[in-house]
Symmetry: C2
Subunit: 161 residues, 2 copies
Amino acid sequence: MDKPDQGQPDEKLAGLFRAFLQDFRWEDVPFLPYKEEGSAPFKAISRQVLFQDPELSCELRYFEVAPGGYSTLERHQHSHGVMILRGEADVLVGREVRSVKTFDLVRIPPMTWHRFRTRGDAPMGFLCMVNVERDRPQLPTEDDLRQLKRDPAVAAFLSED
Amino acid sequence: MDKPDQGQPDEKLAGLFRAFLQDFRWEDVPFLPYKEEGSAPFKAISRQVLFQDPELSCELRYFEVAPGGYSTLERHQHSHGVMILRGEADVLVGREVRSVKTFDLVRIPPMTWHRFRTRGDAPMGFLCMVNVERDRPQLPTEDDLRQLKRDPAVAAFLSED
C-alpha cells in the first residue's frame, strides 16, 4: 500500500516536464504581451511565465525584447533578480548604465529606476524572478525624469527612444 | 534636492551587476559544495547561490553536476522550479524518469521524490528557484526505496549509482 503523502495520483503530477522549443518558446507556456497596451511606454517585448506555482513565493518569467525594443522605465517597492538568457542589452539600474550579455546577473533593488534595452541586431531575452505578492510599478514624473537626466550617461540611455 | 525614496546612496547599490565568467562561474558568487559532506548521498555536484536577497521570497541557485554525478534522492514539503542551463540530464520526479536538455523546465511538487543525474560526457547545470523559508529534505527509507523500485524505469534510474 502506498502512503498517502507519497503516492500522489498521476493527474496531480501533470506539467512536471516542459520542453524548450525553438525560438525561445516553451511547451505549455503561453506567449503573452509584456503588459497591457497603452498602460506604460515600452516597445517590442513579450512575456512568458515559466513558473507560477501556488507553493512558490516567487514567479520566474522570461521576457524577450526584439532588436530596437525596450522595457518600461519604472520603479517599485518589490525587487527583481534577473539573468540574461540570450543576446545583449544596455541596462539602467538606479544611476548606472551597463552593457550585459548572456548569463550575466542584474539585481533591481526596491524603488530603483530600471529599464532594459536591446543592444545590437539580435533579440535579447532575460529571466526575471519576482515575489508573487508585489506592488504595482510606478512611472516617472517629469520631475523624476529631469533628475535622472542630470547624469549624462543616464540622459544618453533615455534619449535613444 | 533628491527625494529620500529615490536618491539611494551609491553604497546601497553595490552588486547590481555580476558578470558571467568562464566555466559557469559568476563574479562575486561563491563556489560552494552541494551540501554538507556525508549528510546525504550525492556525487560530483556544486552549488552557487545567484540571488539571495532580503526583499525576495525565493532564492535562485545554480547547481552543476560533473559527468557521472547526481543529486541526492530526496523529497520535502517545499517545491522547486528548475531550468536546465547547460548539458543534458536524466531526471526522476515522482514516478517519472525523463531526459532533459538545455532550457527545458522541470517542476518538483511538494513531497515528490526527485533526483538529477548527468547524461553523457558533459557537465550538466541547472537553475533552481526555491522558497527562502522551507523544510529540510527527507531521505528515502528502505521501504520508500522498495516502493519506488516497483516501477522498472525508476528502478533502472536508481540502479545506475
